[in-house]
């Protein structure tokens, strides 16, 4: 349903007003620095209402014509340009949708007297949200960079909310460092894109017809810059450090939403601002995406810290998203627009579903963390019985994350695999031969993601309590439940209504690759990406089938076997007693992956000998990139700094001599 021509910009104005409302809420929090009840029970829920309003405002804008606005804020003579088109609207909806759930959860999550004052936290949180919304609305490089850096700084302060701990400060520093490396690359990318015209508005960049060489440079800079924020290998190292350090709702926002702004920026540059795509860009992005996905999922499998595991899982999902984008670039470069639209749709669908299920999982870990003050998988277990709400919510998130039907994760991964099946049509025989291996890799990643989620859920929620204190854990409060319910609803809706979801994505892919998936073939309830002969998926029928067979089995068991069950001691494998220590541990569960993918890890094992009175087993899994890339880089920087530091003698006379020599040298040089 193509929207009517709107000359004014009602949705854009509303979206900007909502972003401003977030900032106002933040400032209100700053004014009520220590008034906990006001901040938690009024400001955070109000923030959630703003987020929902943002979704409502952005939804019609997907179909509408692009709206622009120029606001005279910022430096004089350098106003902010804003633009709301289909791509921005989609990401606004993702931001609003996930942020609503997280804000509701936060209303019940933050506790009194925990490090940062609640009002300050509220300020940083809402500025972070507003900055993310404005990043996707920005229409010139200046506004974009200002919002991008505001987002980075706000999230940095949120990560270091608990700054008394040295480990958290270190994580925050690493995050800030990589964020700035990325920002430099993005800035340079915009510099290349404006092609010496001096006009940094995106409208001008679209008009520039860059030669392939410079376009490629801009593209690689964008990949580095946005890849650093998204967490592409090898710039992923900040994710597993910063996510565990941040408070859980913040991790949820960073992982679920902030990473998506990087995806947005990359799409904006690669498809919108650059004039045409070149095929090797697609290969590059596809390769990096796949490596990231595999790397992320394998490392997630061996983690024994809940949030670290989820952070690595985010790395994996970002890898999948970028693999889809890369594939779409490849198809678009060869002019296969319809298939490019399929791959891009898969990537965008995964953006939305990952935003919901990863936010859900992160806030669920937050609830577990508050109830038990434990993050280590080795000390949790059996929480399903004491925390049923959190348990069921996590189960849903875990199923979506593992890519099981009928939830959102399945739709996107299925679409991605479908688009891989089209690669034999590429006019490049070498790529054709390579692609089956790539599709197999995607399947492997999906399977390992399932493995990771089984581990996560099984160790935390099933079995017996590994510690005594877990029996007294309390379930989530009403605010927290509401937040989780909202995100659960999002996961389910994305899973059950994919045809409607694709309807929303159609204008976006039309804008980017000039084609969209025709969903008409299957009607409202059947998802048919290409043609009905090829493949189709009807989630509601699927769900009905699952429910029917479950009901039938339940009925038959009750009917045929009820009353015939004989209760007797279970066969105990020769162990007359069992305790919680005998359950499979997180380390034990991850051991096969550790063995199979050993070359990927840098492992340090501490094994007990036969004579240890107190045997202790420890394994530390490190990342090769630290030792191959980051530590050498850090050493090189330090060596350079030491070398330059020799100039610093501490004697004023020497410093003056430097100036004197410089003046003389310059004078000689100028008058030569």
């Amino acid at each position: 349903m193509p929207g009517g021509q709107v000359s004014a910009a009602p949705q854009l104005a509303a979206a900007l007003a909502l972003a401003a409302a977030w900032i106002v809420l933040g400032v209100a929090g700053l004014a009520a620095l220590q008034r906990f009840v006001l901040v938690a029970r009024v400001l955070f829920p109000a923030g959630a209402a703003v987020a929902i309003a943002l979704v409502v405002v952005a939804l019609p804008a997907v179909w509408g014509t692009p709206q622009t606005a120029v606001l005279p804020i910022g430096l004089p003579g350098l106003p902010f340009h804003f633009r709301l088109d289909a791509l921005s609207a989609l990401f606004l909806m993702v931001i609003g949708g996930a942020a609503a759930g997280v804000s509701l959860f936060s209303a019940g999550y933050f506790r009194r007297a925990e490090g940062t004052p609640p009002g300050l936290l509220c300020f940083q949180y809402h500025v972070f949200l507003a900055a993310m919304a404005l990043v996707v609305l920005a229409d010139d490089a200046y506004a974009f960079m200002v919002m991008w850096e505001t987002m980075a700084l706000a999230s940095f302060f949120l990560v270091t909310a608990n700054h008394r701990s040295a480990e958290i400060r270190r994580a925050g520093y690493l995050y800030l460092l990589i964020a700035h490396l990325g920002a430099i690359a993005i800035l340079l990318c915009f510099g290349v894109l404006q092609a010496n015209t001096g006009d940094y508005s995106f409208a001008n960049m679209r008009l520039q017809n860059l030669p392939p060489f410079w376009a490629s440079i801009a593209f690689v800079l964008a990949l580095v810059g946005f890849g650093a924020k998204a967490g592409l290998v090898p710039l992923h190292v900040w994710l597993p450090e910063a996510h565990p350090a941040a408070p859980s709702p913040v991790s949820a926002l960073m992982s679920g939403v902030m990473l998506k702004t990087a995806v947005y920026g990359f799409l904006r540059v690669a498809y919108d601002l650059l004039p045409a795509q070149i095929w090797w860009w697609g290969v590059l992005v596809l390769a990096i995406g796949l490596v990231t996905a595999l790397f992320g999922v394998v490392f997630a499998a061996v983690q024994s810290d809940m949030k670290r595991l989820l952070a690595w899982s985010s790395v994996e999902n970002i890898g999948l998203i970028f693999a889809g984008i890369g594939l779409a670039l490849l198809f678009a470069a060869y002019g296969m627009d319809a298939v490019a639209a399929l791959a891009l749709t898969a990537a965008l669908y995964h953006v939305a579903s990952h935003a919901f299920f990863k936010s859900l999982l992160f806030i669920a870990t937050g609830a577990v963390l508050h109830a038990t003050s434990e993050r280590s998988l080795g000390r949790l277990g059996g929480l399903m019985r004491v925390m049923p709400w959190v348990g069921w919510a996590t189960l849903l998130g875990v199923l979506a994350s593992a890519g099981l039907p009928p939830l959102g994760g399945f739709v996107s991964e299925w679409l991605l695999l479908q688009s891989f099946l089209f690669t034999p049509h590429l006019p490049n025989s070498f790529l054709n031969m390579l692609v089956p291996a790539v599709a197999a890799l995607i399947a492997l990643v999906a399977a390992l993601a399932g493995y990771v989620m089984v581990k996560f859920y099984g160790v935390v929620f099933l079995g017996q309590h590994r510690e005594e204190k877990l029996a007294g854990a309390h379930d989530a409060g009403p605010w927290e439940r509401t937040g989780m319910l909202w995100l659960m609803a999002g996961c389910v809706a994305l899973g059950l209504l994919p045809a409607q979801g694709l309807d929303v994505l159609a204008p976006v892919t039309t804008m980017l690759v000039h084609a969209s998936l025709t969903t008409l073939a299957g009607g409202n309830w059947l998802l048919v990406p290409v043609s009905i002969e090829r493949a189709s998926y009807a989630p509601l029928f699927f769900l009905a089938g699952v429910a029917a067979s479950f009901a039938l089995a339940f009925f038959l068991v009750r009917r045929l076997y009820h009353g015939r069950v004989r209760r007797a001691p279970a066969w105990d494998c020769g162990h007359p007693w069992q305790n919680a220590r005998m359950q499979d541990t997180a380390e034990g569960f991850g051991q096969p992956v550790r063995q199979i993918f050993e070359p990927l890890f840098r492992m340090q094992r501490e094994l007990p000998t036969a004579f240890d009175a107190r045997p202790r087993y420890a394994v530390e899994v490190g990342d090769h990139f630290w030792h191959w890339l980051y530590l050498p880089a850090a050493r090189a920087v330090e060596a350079t700094a030491r070398f330059v530091g020799r100039l610093q003698q501490g004697r004023i006379a020497i410093y003056l001599l430097y100036s004197f020599a410089t003046v003389i040298a310059l004078l000689v040089w100028v008058t030569r």
Partner: protein, 219 residues
Amino acid sequence: MSGLALQFINLLAALLLLLAFAMLAQRRILSLIHLYTMQGVVLVAATAAMGYVSHQPHLYVSAGLTLALKVFLIPWLLHRVIDRLNVRWDIETLINIPTTLIVGIVLVIFAFNLAQPISELSASVARGTLGIALACVLLSLMMMITRSKAVPQVIGFLALENGLFFAATAATYGMPMVVELGIALDVLVGILILGVFLFQIRQQFDSLDIRHLEKLKDE
């Protein structure tokens, strides 16, 4: 008449250079301040003469400003500082004075060579004195380098500014009034801040020897 005035300006320029050498050779702080004051007087005379020759009335204003600032206010402030700090005695230099003077002569030759092509571009009547102004700047910088006490360094900084001022007057009939006022204010604020620093250094180390500041370096 104009030829005579031009000769007068050249004489003043030579005096300025002579005073710069005298400052380089001077060991006593009190004499340094006197030399600085004399430099100020010469500068005032030069600026006024320049104004007379070139019929630029704003140069008279600039001369008056210089008179107030560099002949009265700053010397008075410097006297107060050395009274309060009680540092009238001789100055140790890092390099002995004859060597300094020889290096100074080399600098003057360098500055004259440097200024020759530039002064040909200038339309000013007094363009020949540009080399002298540049030499004054370099000599003052040299003085700052070779002194180990804080007060002579401040005086070196002020003399450097004198050289710059003379260069501006000689080459281009002075800077625009706004710039000149700004620089005058900068110098005034600069000397106040440096004064505060001097007291702080003294309080911290019981000495004005800036070699103590080497301890501040990060190891």
